[in-house]
């Protein structure tokens, strides 16, 4: 009799454990769905904005050193430019619906600005095809990219101020 009671208690306890486990798994899933929605807090916005600006600085540094590394220079610049694009895409996910709506024109212009800056890579290829030396074509591209991303970053900062990013 005692053994039967013990078995019953054990199986009930086990059942309780299993159901609790399943319930907690459901709870965990409900709390943190995948993919994670990025936070839109002022802190998250400020961090994302600073990441974009830091990446712009890295890219500008790369434009200063790339002309001396003729072989790797182009690849390095494309990588760094793609990183700017990625950080900017991440930044946009931290904006609130009101900021996205009010700044829709500005964001579209920033998107277009990056597309236009990217054309400098095509110009480099065209320059080479037109008989320009690798060194000159790369130097031209570096100068254009350095200043163009500077113009873009100024617009980005101004738009962030207007949209109260991180406030």
């Amino acid at each position: 009799m005692k053994a039967i009671t013990k078995k019953l208690v054990l199986s009930a306890g086990l059942g309780l454990l299993v159901s609790l486990g399943a319930l907690s798994a459901n709870l965990v899933y409900a709390q943190a769905p995948w993919p994670f929605a990025p936070p839109t807090t002022p802190m998250a916005q400020r961090n994302a904005m600073n990441l974009v600006l830091n990446q712009v600085n890295w890219f500008q540094n790369a434009t200063r050193t790339a002309s001396s590394q003729s072989n790797n220079g182009y690849g390095l610049l494309t990588q760094q430019f793609q990183a700017v694009r990625d950080q900017y895409a991440g930044f946009k996910t931290t904006l609130k619906p009101q900021q996205l709506s009010l700044g829709a024109n500005q964001l579209a212009e920033l998107d277009a600005g990056l597309d236009i800056i990217q054309e400098a890579f095509t110009d480099y290829q065209t320059g080479m095809a037109n008989g320009q030396s690798t060194y000159t074509a790369l130097a031209n591209m570096c100068r254009v990219l350095n200043q163009a991303i500077g113009v873009w970053a100024r617009e980005f900062k101004q738009d962030c101020r207007q949209l109260r990013v991180g406030w």
Binding site: N105, E109, T136, E155, Q162
Partner: protein, 228 residues
């Protein structure tokens, strides 16, 4: 003995008072957080309309400079062509960099279509000047029409700008090593093509500016001096 008990009683009463301190501090902190001084402010809408006009004017000056410097290269080819070439290369570089804003605006205008204008309308509906608000409401159809014409002109600018810049870059590459009369003569057809495209860009920018000016005129309150 009496004094001691009095002191104990005072300490007890003081402790009772101190019990209120932590909740009071929490309330004070919360009140401080809710003050208007640190409350997040709403985003300010951008004066798209005025900014775009300024960008168009800047782009016109850039294109004009590039066209003049191209003329100067052919004029100076039989004398000392180097300074003229250097000025031309500088103008092309400035065009590559400083035209980004106008190109980005025209591209965004095309990508967003009517939604781009709706943002302008919303901005105008919220400006402080009541007269401007009323004028914007009153001239809504004319403003919309001007915007549509500006869109067409910006499309023209967008389509011709890239080939124009590409021609200028080609010329810069061709003449870089030797901008002599012989080379300039050999690149004559490319120069003419670049100038033709440049004129089309100028026409497109002229149309854009005309539309922006007519929009400005529609929104100018009676008696207000025209803004330069």
């Amino acid at each position: 003995m009496k004094t001691r008990s009095a002191i104990h009683a005072r300490i007890r009463s003081l402790r009772n008072c101190l019990h209120w301190l932590p909740p009071a501090a929490v309330v004070a902190v919360l009140l401080g957080c809710a003050s208007t001084g640190t409350a997040p402010k709403a985003p300010t809408p951008r004066d798209d309309f005025r900014e775009y006009r300024q960008i168009v004017v800047l782009a016109m000056s850039l294109v004009d400079t590039a066209m003049r410097s191209l003329d100067e290269v052919s004029v100076q080819a039989n004398r000392d062509p180097r300074p003229a070439y250097a000025a031309f290369a500088r103008a092309v570089h400035r065009l590559e960099v400083d035209s980004i804003k106008v190109r980005a605006h025209t591209q965004a205008m095309r990508a967003r279509g009517d939604a781009y204008f709706e943002r302008w309308e919303k901005y105008l509906a919220g400006v402080d000047n009541e007269q401007v608000r009323q004028l914007a409401e009153q001239h809504r159809p004319e403003l919309k029409q001007s915007f549509q014409q500006a869109q067409v002109a910006s499309q023209q600018v967008r389509e011709v700008f890239r080939p124009f810049l590409s021609d200028l870059q080609k010329l810069r590459a061709v003449l870089e090593a030797d901008p002599s009369l012989l080379r300039v003569d050999a690149a004559k057809s490319l120069m003419l093509a670049a100038k033709d495209k440049g004129r089309q860009v100028q026409q497109g920018l002229d149309c854009l500016l005309a539309e922006m000016n007519s929009m400005t005129a529609l929104l100018r309150p009676a008696g207000a001096a025209p803004r330069r």
